[in-house]
Amino acid sequence: MELLQCIDLNKNFKKKQILKNINLSIPRGKIIGLLGKNGAGKSTLIKLINDLLTVTSGQILINGKPIGVESKKIISYLPERAYLDKGMTVDKTIKYFEEFYENFDSEKAYKLLKDLGLDTNQKLNKMSKGMQEKVQLVLVMSRKADLYILDEPLGGVDPATRDYILDTILTNFNDGASVIISTHLISDIERILDNVIFIDKGEIILTAEADELRNREDASIDEIFRRMFKC
């Protein structure tokens, strides 16, 4: 059984169709890039999978079952925008995560935060933007989930932070779990992707294995994407 399946998915906001007839199948043990320009529908799709929006028509299945309380337990989601209470200390935030998620491994979180040289008694709003992003990623990756969904984890961070984020993703996803990373910064992450999904104007344009696509087109994923979606 596939980890995640989207079947004939449509999403409208008022009269506007945001996602058109999405059919997707995400297997276990893969890192998948959800690649599209700004406004292509990436975040909408991700929010649907996380049950934060409801579908207009179609179905989303996790481990063969419709999404809901159970699927939230096994999906660890990093939203595009900061979602933590910035007036809280890191220690307090970790306490929240412990209470909220059965599968949260606070020992792991503390270890990763220690590697960052972070004072966990510090409030989030006292930290740099890059540090806040790292803390959020650490919290998300410290859950023993089946599926990690990271919405634009690289937006607006410096190259050193970007490397840290990629390393943390590679090192910390569970055996047999999958990771979906949405981004428009393709060249930065394409090295770690198994599969790519190109999305444009609410439709899936292409799904492929990254190395096969490079071989076929004799170009990088970034280059292929640019050719396809020339502005």
Binding site: G29, I31, I192
Partner: protein, 121 residues
Amino acid sequence: MKFDFDNNIPIYLQLVTELKRDIISGKLSAGERLPSVRDLALDLKVNPNTVQKALVELEDIGLVFTERTNGKFVTEDNSLIEKYKQEYANTMTQKYMETMRKIGLSKNEILLLINNLGGNV
């Protein structure tokens, strides 16, 4: 192990080439145990599945073998390593010759060049 990947070429093929070169140069010696897929992936900062694919390819051509419980090893067949070494040397030399011919050098001129530079490499 650390090298820069070219995003234009399938990553697993680059890994195959790199590991092959490490084996024929002796950097990885015959019979040596390879690091685990996960360790290699972390070290090279690529996806574990990509490393796995590269190792399967190396296994297919006989340069690597799996011992069920112990992991993967470099072949102990020195004549096979030698064969791939010759093959690699031939390919690189042919490439070099082609490039030199393209800029108009004759075989003798190329040989002279190699002889003259020989002392410096």
